[in-house]
């Protein structure tokens, strides 16, 4: 048996947490990153939407790989980046709504 053959019972929660983080957290991360990109990229809106959306799959893929490569705690910390990114993307929408 291999070295890291810890009992399955202890491995499952960690694997599940990581998978959830990668799939759900990854989507949330990608969503907010693309939102920020859409706000920051120069150019006409139609072009920006297409460019930002086409790279989203690359962002998502890299995030999933990264989430599996680093310690779980550090991967979880990455969730903190989501609100600021989303804010960059959506602040004019939100601001306009408030005003």
């Amino acid at each position: 048996m291999s070295r890291v053959a810890t009992p399955a019972a202890r491995l499952w929660p960690a694997a599940l947490a990581r998978t959830l983080l990668a799939v759900v957290g990854g989507y949330a991360f990608t969503y907010s990153a693309v939102a920020a990109l859409a706000r920051l990229l120069p150019g006409e809106p139609v072009d920006v939407v297409i460019s930002a959306t086409l790279v989203s799959f690359l962002i998502y893929t890299l995030y999933v790989l990264w989430a599996f490569a680093v310690p779980l705690r550090r991967a979880l910390l990455s969730l903190l980046v989501i609100p600021p990114l989303a804010l960059i993307g959506f602040w004019p929408n939100l601001f306009a709504g408030a005003a």
Partner: protein, 527 residues
């Protein structure tokens, strides 16, 4: 997790799990996608009542025009599906519904031909991106699988560096690590294809999968984005077309007018799109002063996916009133990606390359799935229950789906041609066949199940030319014979696979010891 695993280890675990969990889905997506490369050819094969009259498009249009003028002089629109290289049939319909019920005409006599109802090759195409679920759910499931494929490909590359080293660390194997080798070879050789086909697949529905940018800049209104994207001319044409049909100018008020013979528009269209590049021709407000003729190219005049593109003429004077505008760069990027996925460019040579690459992708996914169980069988003595599940599911999905597809083709020939609800029965044959294979896989020991299913599928495929000759002898033409021959060729390959399973189970066992060495050097590969 007391000790952080190395990157290679965690990537290996990710590869195994992402691959295993969506591997079954991916096999179904890739196999039906591969078959969908020849969807039109399969459509043709599955309606043996249609025959290739060899008539050119100009004469075909003449036949269709007189038929439509006689039967539907007052229709708001006429639509003519032209005979093409990939589907030599002539079809007509009237009214706005271009996709509605089409009437097949014999291009020689101008008489109506009623072909059997069939799912056609279209079934594989739709299954490929919806898995026969409701479309909105299906494309999400397929999109999820495609993302997992992307992750599996890249994590596979990362761990492969290590495997590559292993190759030289150990002596060349005496027995065989054929599953690992097969998986690696098919994965590495076609790495660009796997990456391309997966990413471009995601790019087709990109705005649905990732609405963030649309949400930010268009308040989530995709239609607003599309209307901005549509080049001005297409919008106008659409408005012009609609105005003619409804509201502004009721048809009766528009005076009758003499249209140019429709056959002339073939030449005009070909002057723009190139010879043999037209797929359909439609007329709005036929025989009225505001009549328009629209010619559509077959897909594949360019790398860019040109779905829905058309050239519009004034039907009375013959002048061009709407030509496709060049696509803006960003959209062109997306459309080229979609075009790369749809494989409509480059003619039959490209089509065969995609088909063969697709088959190799299927083989890579299947060998990956089998590799998992082969490795596990020697490894974890305690968890045989899960292993048993994976083993029979492998047979049920890989063998079962191949059986179901073969059964569908057989069902197409065996079911009575004029049966009521025939499409539904074909569907029942497909899913019923799959269910049978699933039950069989569950009941038999894995190797037996493999051997029996592979043998059966191989025999069915090998017998397809015979079946075709017996049940539809008059329909045999180059296109249908190619389908038969390809089926037989795949039967040979699967027969070879079956023979390997039957004759060499010892070889698989013999490699157990040596694979163990590899495994222990890659600790934590599977947990």
């Amino acid at each position: 997790m007391a000790k952080q695993a190395s990157v290679t280890q965690s990537m290996s675990g990710l590869h195994t799990w992402a691959g295993l969990i969506v591997g079954w889905l991916l096999f179904a997506i890739f196999l039906t996608g591969t078959l969908a490369v020849f969807d039109k050819e399969l459509n043709w094969w599955m309606q043996p009542e249609l025959h290739d009259t060899g008539l050119d498009q100009v004469s075909a249009v003449r036949v269709a025009e007189s038929w439509l003028r006689e039967r539907n002089p007052d229709a708001s629109a006429w639509n003519i599906g032209l005979p093409t290289e990939r589907g030599p049939s002539l079809s007509v319909s009237s009214g706005e519904q271009r996709r509605g019920q089409r009437t097949q005409l014999d291009a020689d006599s101008g008489e109506v031909v009623v072909p059997r109802e069939t799912l056609g090759g279209n079934f594989f195409f739709h299954f490929h991106y919806t898995l026969h679920m409701p479309r909105s759910i299906g494309i999400w499931v397929v999109g999820f699988a495609a993302m997992a494929m992307l992750v599996a490909i890249i994590s596979g590359v990362i761990i492969h560096k290590k495997i590559f080293k292993d190759f030289f660390t150990f002596r060349p194997a005496k027995g065989q690590r054929s599953w690992l080798d097969g998986h690696n070879a098919s994965a590495v050789l076609l790495l660009p294809f796997h990456l391309m086909i997966t990413y471009t697949g995601l790019a087709i529905f990109f705005l649905i999968y990732m609405p963030a940018a649309t949400d930010v800049l268009y308040g989530g209104d995709r239609e607003a984005l599309f209307s901005e994207l549509r080049p001005g001319n297409e919008q106008q044409v659409e408005r012009a077309g609609r105005a003619g049909e409804g509201g502004r100018a009721p048809r009766a008020e528009v005076p009758a007018a003499q249209m140019l013979p429709l056959e002339q528009f073939i030449g005009r269209g070909e002057a723009y799109y190139g010879e043999d590049m037209l797929g359909s021709l439609s007329v709005s407000n036929p025989d009225r002063a505001n009549a328009r003729v629209e010619v559509r190219p077959v897909m594949g005049t360019r790398l860019e996916l040109t779905k829905g593109e058309s050239l519009v003429f004034n039907a009375i004077t013959g002048e061009v009133v709407g030509a496709p505008q060049p696509t803006r760069t960003t959209l062109l990027t997306q459309k080229v990606m979609a075009g790369l996925h749809f494989a409509q460019f480059g003619g039959y040579a490209m089509r065969w390359i995609y088909f063969l690459c697709g088959l190799i992708s299927c083989a890579m996914i299947a060998s990956g799935l089998v590799l998992y169980t082969v490795k596990r069988r020697r490894q974890v003595k305690s968890d045989t229950r899960w292993l048993r599940q994976a083993e029979w599911l492998n047979v049920a999905v890989i063998g079962g789906l191949m059986f179901a597809c073969t059964a569908l083709l057989w069902g197409n020939r065996m079911l009575p041609a004029n049966m009521a609800e025939r499409e539904l029965w074909e569907l029942r044959v497909f899913f019923g066949g799959w269910l049978l294979a699933l039950v069989h896989a569950r009941l038999r020991a894995p190797l037996r199940a493999w051997a029996e299913q592979l043998t059966l599928i191989a025999l069915l495929l090998l017998a397809m030319p015979v079946l075709d000759m017996l049940l539809a002898p008059k329909a045999l033409d180059g296109l249908r014979l190619s389908v038969d021959a390809s089926a037989a060729a795949m039967g040979l390959i699967l027969g070879w696979a079956a023979w390997r399973v039957v004759c060499q189970p010892q070889a698989v066992k013999k490699t157990a010891g040596e694979t163990k060495k590899i495994r222990t050097s890659r600790t934590g590969v599977t947990s």
